[in-house]
Symmetry: C2
Subunit: 224 residues, 2 copies
């Protein structure tokens, strides 16, 4: 059963990895929410008014108050709905470790980073994009090691930050002609483990659907 | 009187705005710490070992455990030493607002942003750097409004994030031939207010000293 039914709204775009974070966090906490799908080429007045600084999804609207930036939203969700276990451990040192790696994942495995792969034809620029992406993912592979989740046995903040990009791996692989599983088998096994969770399964689109979207984006950006 | 004397070390560089954040946060909490000044052109083994991902200052070492990234450190300091008031308000909504603006300040008023001004001769690139810098600072000027600090009457997280750059304003003004005070009088008044605090005064270098350092950097980077 959900809480605060009808008061929480996510201004969303289904393929946005950032919006996926917010939906996963809400679902982990069992918070009911409405999704308002945005047309990113014709943004709603509500989106423009709610996020005047960046004008981007996701926006989390709780009780008519908008909050922007996905990681700010994840912290907000964690701190507002405290009846479900926190996404962060309680020990300050362990919290710092989680924040450090979530920040690293956020900076290095990003929409813009992925665009260096799918937004370029085969060639030097795409190779550079693949190299950067895989180098960062390999760092995270080592950090994950043989743990179930980044924090150990508990799905948490780093997982929420990174797992949306798992739904983009297939599109990146198809565009860049490589295999994430070959390069980072533990990350792929972790992604499969995460997607078994209801919160993640309900928030991540099918890989094929993301790939079709990427093909549309490649047309729009004149990549092929 | 300080706490945990001798156990806390900051791997520092005096002109680093990021390291200033960490020192301000520690001083606000009354935590005694040792400063180990780094030569950024010849980094210590301890720095390279403590921050293998970025190899950058500041590193906060507490009880032999290193923590990297200044905003992760500020959160850590806030959550470890809880006997002094938190840098963040208690209300989840207000915390989200603080995190949003600290993140905005962190992304837009940065060493790299400043370098677009001091790292270029007069001309198009420098003008672009000035425009970006002032546009972001004007957004923050409006957010600050007539409040004493970004959070209201209490010096907090956004102030700690932004105020180190106040010590760089003079160098940017001299290199870019403009006046921050003319463009953003409330921000400058806020900076003067912040520097009256012992924590800030002890952590920010003299503006003239920063300017001399910037002149050295301009020589190193061949700007003039």
């Amino acid at each position: 059963m959900g809480k605060d039914n009808g008061k929480v709204v996510v201004l969303d775009f289904w393929a946005s990895p950032y919006a996926m974070r917010t939906k996963i966090a809400l679902r982990e906490k069992g918070v009911e929410f409405k999704v308002q799908e945005e047309d990113l080429w014709n943004k709603s007045e509500l989106l423009l008014k709610s996020n005047p600084v960046y004008k981007k999804v996701p926006v989390l609207i709780d009780d008519n108050t908008p909050i922007s930036e996905s990681l700010v939203q994840v912290h907000y969700i964690d701190e507002k709905w405290t009846d479900v276990a926190s996404f962060l451990p309680s020990d300050p040192q362990a919290r710092a470790t989680a924040r450090f790696w979530a920040d690293f994942a956020d900076k290095t495995i990003s929409f813009e980073g992925g665009k260096k792969i799918w937004g370029n034809k085969k060639g030097e620029e795409q190779e550079k994009g693949k190299k950067e992406f895989l180098e960062s993912l390999k760092v995270l592979e080592v950090v994950l090691g043989d743990k179930s989740y980044f924090g150990g046995e508990t799905f948490g903040y780093v997982d929420i930050t990174l797992v949306p990009f798992y739904s983009w791996f297939y599109a990146l692989e198809k565009c860049g002609d490589f295999s994430v599983e070959t390069e980072c088998p533990k990350i792929v096994a972790w992604g499969k483990r995460c997607i078994e969770r209801k919160s993640v399964a309900a928030s991540l689109p099918e890989s094929e659907k993301v790939y079709q979207q990427v093909l549309k984006l490649r047309q729009i950006f004149g990549v092929e």
